[in-house]
């Protein structure tokens, strides 16, 4: 952390985020108003009108919370089936130059659930599984729509809070269409071209075969004419590499794959329409990589500058939404207070992660690795320690889940930060829309707790918070925590669960906890050593993670829209001397306290068994 340049990059990032918050927030005011006018009207308005006409949408008609919820659920279901069937049958569809087969039902279900819920968990490696058509159509459509739905839900909730004695909270179709046409698509068009200028690819060519400079020889399993592995008896080895001796004193023989030498003198370079997908992957906080290595892949994140703007794109809309919140509730200082609470938790997370990764791994340093270099396992040279730690914090504060370094190889405390961020419910800026509606749950809880402490009826934005509201809030928080911890517990004791692990000891447990935290939180990043799509076809991981993602998205959204409907119907009560102020330093502290305490108390025991105990074991040079 004694790198002044890194501090300067950090300051630039926070400064740039602060700078774009208000202008983008002002633009959101126009986008989220069905009658709003923008500078793009001349170009986009005709397309918007045509869309309404073809789909039979009446933009002047608003919906009740039930109508809004129904539209959202139907739209998500149609999108999920659309993706599922394209993935299953991609071998019969165009733009598949590598001839990839259709996906198995469990993988197609997992992936369709993943992209529909804005999670973008990937049980597969993109460049070795997906055709160009699957990437561009089946997956990218959700990068737009799941982001637009998230923003629409946040808009509906804030409208509900702002209105009084009202029956409707907006029109789902209008919100989704306007956010997509006026906000996401235009920014992506510009952003994608910028990314190409940095070296990101955008083409439809088959993979390029290059003649490498230095051929090498490697050992690969021998296969017969039918492509089946050939096995031969060989001495059985135990964990330490020693021959196992049978009761007769002779080595035990088992069938093992025969290995043959293979000369590698070419490099096949995966191509594809990457830039168009990455722009919306970041801006929509989706995070689903085109390639297996996600934003660490040089084609998916070619330069530190593309890295900086990708991180900024993740936070741009969530940050602007806090300004839009202040504007809509006619209390700009409340918007900034929410922003400040998010920024404070974000900065704290970066500092902890950065410190842990800079300090590096004492076990490796003892072997001779330069201490000053920090922990470079699973990191790219062009990003270095700081930009890897910053990216990891940003991507898990938000529900993005793109990674530019492998979180699985972070130091225990460096990996604890992303894990904890996801377990707060991703409300530190958070996903587009999802971050704001998640944070508003905590705002209501914080106001409720403050009300209990001073013994007055809690109020928020001039409305009384009543038992029904708090029940909905608690429902959201408890369903999420119970799903993460319950499924983690199951996978930890089941054979299918531990079969997927890449690491033993407490780190193996962390891989499981991370997977369910990520999926329920709709984040999508991973301790990527975990194999969720095993070659033996066991569907347990794909199925449980898929269900976790659906619970994390829809069991959160439905109570939130119910809350929006309930708030909209409430009567306004005038503020009095006893009203708890939702702006200023006290409120910011209370909000941070609520987020951290709910997260910490719920997940501390699990974290203690994973990263925390691993930290002490690493200090004592224990290996697994």
């Amino acid at each position: 952390m004694n790198n002044p340049n890194a501090w300067f990059q950090f300051a630039l990032f926070v400064g740039a985020l602060l700078l774009i918050t208000k202008p983008l927030g002002l633009y959101l005011v126009k986008v989220l108003d069905a009658q709003g006018r923008t500078f793009l009207d001349r170009l986009v308005k005709p397309i918007e009108r045509l869309t309404y006409r073809v789909c039979g949408i009446d933009p002047s008609k608003e919906q009740s919370w039930l109508g809004y919820t129904l539209a959202l659920l139907v739209f998500s279901l149609v999108g999920m089936l659309f993706t599922y069937f394209i993935l299953r049958f991609q071998d019969r569809l165009p733009l598949n130059p590598q001839g990839f087969p259709g996906l198995s039902p469990s993988l197609a279900f997992n992936t369709a659930a993943s992209f529909t819920t804005n999670t973008n968990w990937q049980s597969y490696g993109g460049e070795s599984t997906m055709s160009y058509f699957s990437q561009m159509v089946a997956l990218a459509i959700h990068n737009f729509t799941s982001a637009a739905c998230g923003i629409a839900i946040a808009a509906a909730l804030v409208r509900g809070i702002a209105r009084h004695s009202a029956k409707t909270i907006g029109n789902f179709w209008v919100d989704t269409v306007r956010v997509t046409y006026y906000l996401l698509a235009p920014i992506c068009l510009v952003f994608a071209l910028f990314l190409v200028s940095q070296g990101m690819i955008q083409n439809f060519k088959p993979y390029t075969v290059a003649k490498t400079y230095e051929p090498y020889t490697t050992q690969v399993p021998k296969t017969d004419d039918k492509g089946q592995p050939v096995t031969a008896p060989a001495p059985k080895l135990d964990d330490k590499g020693k021959q196992v001796v049978g009761p007769d004193g002779k080595p035990v023989m088992v069938d093992q794959p025969m290995m043959v030498d293979q000369k590698v003198d070419t490099q096949t370079i995966a191509q594809g329409p990457v830039a168009s997908q990455i722009a919306i992957k970041m801006l929509g906080t989706n995070g689903g990589g085109y390639y297996n290595a996600n934003a660490a892949h040089p084609f998916e994140n070619p330069t530190p500058l593309s890295n900086f703007l990708q991180m900024l794109a993740i936070f741009a809309i969530p940050s602007a939404l806090t300004w839009w919140l202040g504007r809509t509730l006619k209390n700009q200082r409340h918007g900034w207070a929410v922003w400040s609470a998010m920024a404070a938790m974000f900065i704290a997370g970066v500092l902890v992660c950065w410190k842990a990764e800079t300090s590096g791994n004492p076990i490796h340093q003892h072997l001779g690795v330069a201490v000053a270099d920090g922990n470079m396992e699973g990191k790219e040279v062009r990003f270095g320690i700081f930009n890897s730690a910053l990216f990891a914090t940003v991507t898990t504060d938000a529900s993005c889940g793109a990674v530019n370094a492998m979180h699985d190889s972070f130091t225990p405390l460096g990996g604890l930060v992303p894990l904890f961020n996801m377990e707060t419910g991703e409300v530190i800026f958070g996903g587009v829309g999802a971050g704001l509606y998640g944070m508003l749950i905590f705002v209501i809880l914080a106001v409720f707790i403050a009300g209990l402490m001073v013994g007055r009826t809690p109020e928020y934005a001039g409305k009384k918070i009543e038992a029904y509201d708090v029940k909905l809030v608690m429902l959201v928080l408890m369903v999420l925590a119970a799903t993460i911890l319950g499924m983690t517990a199951w996978a930890s004791v089941a054979k299918w669960g531990t079969d997927g692990l890449n690491n033993a000891g407490p780190h193996g447990f962390s891989e499981i906890l991370y997977a369910f935290s990520s999926c329920v939180g709709n984040n999508g990043s991973a301790f990527a050593g975990l194999t969720a799509n095993p070659s033996n076809g066991d569907p347990h991981w794909n199925a449980t993670l898929g269900i976790a993602m659906l619970i994390g998205r829809f069991l959160m959204i439905v109570p939130i829209l119910a809350l929006a409907g309930n708030f909209a119907g409430k009567r306004l009560i005038p503020a009095s001397a006893g009203t708890f102020r939702t702006e200023g330093f006290t409120f910011v502290l209370l909000l941070i306290g609520t987020v951290v305490l709910v997260g910490a108390l719920t997940f501390l025991p699990a974290l203690a068994m994973g990263p925390i105990v691993e930290h002490f074991l690493m200090g004592a040079s224990n290996l697994f």
Partner: protein
Amino acid sequence: MKTFLSELRTALLLTIIFAVLLCGVYPLAVWAGGQALFPSKANGSLVTETDGTVRGSALIGQSFASDKYFNSRPSAAGTGYDATNSSGTNFGPTSQKLSDSIKAAVAAYRTSNHLAHDAPVPADAVTSSASGLDPHISLANAQLQAPRVAKARHLTTTTVSALIATCTDDRDLHIFGEPGVNVLLLNRALDEIH
């Protein structure tokens, strides 16, 4: 039920319209713009010879392990620098396998570069990158390898050091990221003078 059916119809039609605009028109527009403005980059920044043979990409690392080339970082992509299987090792900090591989890599690095038996080794030289395709090594790593490469090619260390400087990518705008030496471009430059 009537509302459900009408919403279902809207959802189907909107999905189709979005698919055409966002999954057809939009990527094609980026493709057209990218191919017109940055054709080399949009097609993978390929490194080709005068006869058109593709030798690799300036952005994608390749495996180099002999004395006469600057060595790349260890790679977990397929059998090593497999650009259809990008991946890190995903070994955690207390992994026995990771510790073993770093131990072996440190010893090999010290031997091949004639370093003292307790000399600290640059972290990037003995750890795998996130993508397994990292095109760069750190400056310190390149400088430690320079005498070995110079000797194997009968060049002066000064010549090799000058080449390192030309193949170094500085921080973007002198601010963003960390500097690194592009191994493929550096080794190609070496082949060209030899």
